[in-house]
């Protein structure tokens, strides 16, 4: 609490002269930090290198969940049991299974907050998911326009883009 003023001036003003190159570098560094920082964690964008099989095999029945929503171990568990996938047969051929599993695990959650072992391998049973949705009443989840907690896009209007920001929420009235 006692030093910032002087030191900040030292960094930003540099005795009254700002090297434009240095400033550019600083902006890039700050920008990278802000995008990756926890306060911007509602953005879980889909990695651009998703294999086509992810959309074809997984996103026919539910949205293509960004891999960052589960830990590598949880994804491995999900992918090891596709024949009995939350009540349905979602089996794929072995080559596709390997391809999707490797991609999910490589892009899985790394930050401690999101990387717990999900109970029942469900995103919706993780402690962060429950905490984030604790103000949503039970009857809201049952509305026809929502149907299921698996239906992120029902309320998170930009969920398919991996944007779960609180500014992009519209809860269906029924």
């Amino acid at each position: 609490m006692h030093c910032p003023r002087k030191s900040r001036r030292a960094v930003l003003a540099y005795d009254g002269e700002i090297d434009p190159m240095k400033l550019n570098q600083l902006i890039v560094v700050l920008g990278t930090f802000l995008v990756a920082s926890p306060s911007f964690g509602a953005n879980m964008s889909m990695p651009v290198n998703a294999p086509a099989s992810y959309e074809a095999e997984c996103a026919s029945c539910h949205m293509a969940y960004p891999p960052g929503l589960l830990s590598a171990k949880s994804w491995e568990n999900v992918m090891a049991n596709l024949g009995k996938h939350f009540g349905t047969d979602a089996s794929v051929d072995p080559k596709t299974q390997t391809e999707i599993t490797q991609w999910l695990m490589k892009n899985a959650a790394t930050r401690q907050k999101y990387s717990e072992l999900a109970p029942e391998n469900r995103i919706t049973k993780t402690s962060w998911f429950i905490r984030k949705h604790d103000e949503v009443r039970a009857d809201v989840w049952k509305r026809a326009g929502v149907k299921s907690a698996a239906n992120c896009g029902a309320c998170h209007t930009d969920a398919v883009k991996g944007n779960f920001s609180e500014n992009n929420i519209k809860i269906p009235a029924k």
Binding site: A59, C61, H62, M63, D89, V92, K147, A150, A154
Partner: protein, 113 residues
């Protein structure tokens, strides 16, 4: 799973009939709308008639129309067709469908406008 090969609904129907008997659209429609000892029927997700976008009964995910008249991509790739029959028959019947059941359902779907 086989290698994906282009097909038409008519070709697929012929191949299912060759492995069983003549298809019955009426039997196919009944099969499609009935439950078979489990929680869901085909119509639980695809609705009847399946000629429009529908929603997955659990997740709410939009499913494109199943009838070839409404969605030309349907029944155009035999590996894909086999994959979905395997998955969905397991969900609805708890077993794989017979060639006769596939022939019946497909023959009915081909009549849906």
């Amino acid at each position: 799973m086989g290698i994906a090969t282009a097909a038409t609904p008519t070709e697929l129907l012929k191949s299912y009939e060759a492995q069983s008997g003549k298809a019955s659209p009426a039997r196919g429609e009944q099969f499609f709308n009935s439950k078979h000892g489990k929680e869901w029927s085909c119509a639980s997700c695809h609705e009847n008639p399946p000629n429009h976008d529908t929603k997955h009964i659990v997740t709410g995910k939009v499913i494109k129309p199943l009838a070839p008249s409404a969605n030309p991509a349907r029944f155009s790739d035999d590996a894909k067709v086999e994959k979905w029959f395997k998955r969905n028959c397991n969900d609805v019947l708890g077993r794989e469908c017979t060639a006769q059941e596939k022939a019946d359902v497909l023959s009915w779907l081909m009549t849906v406008k």
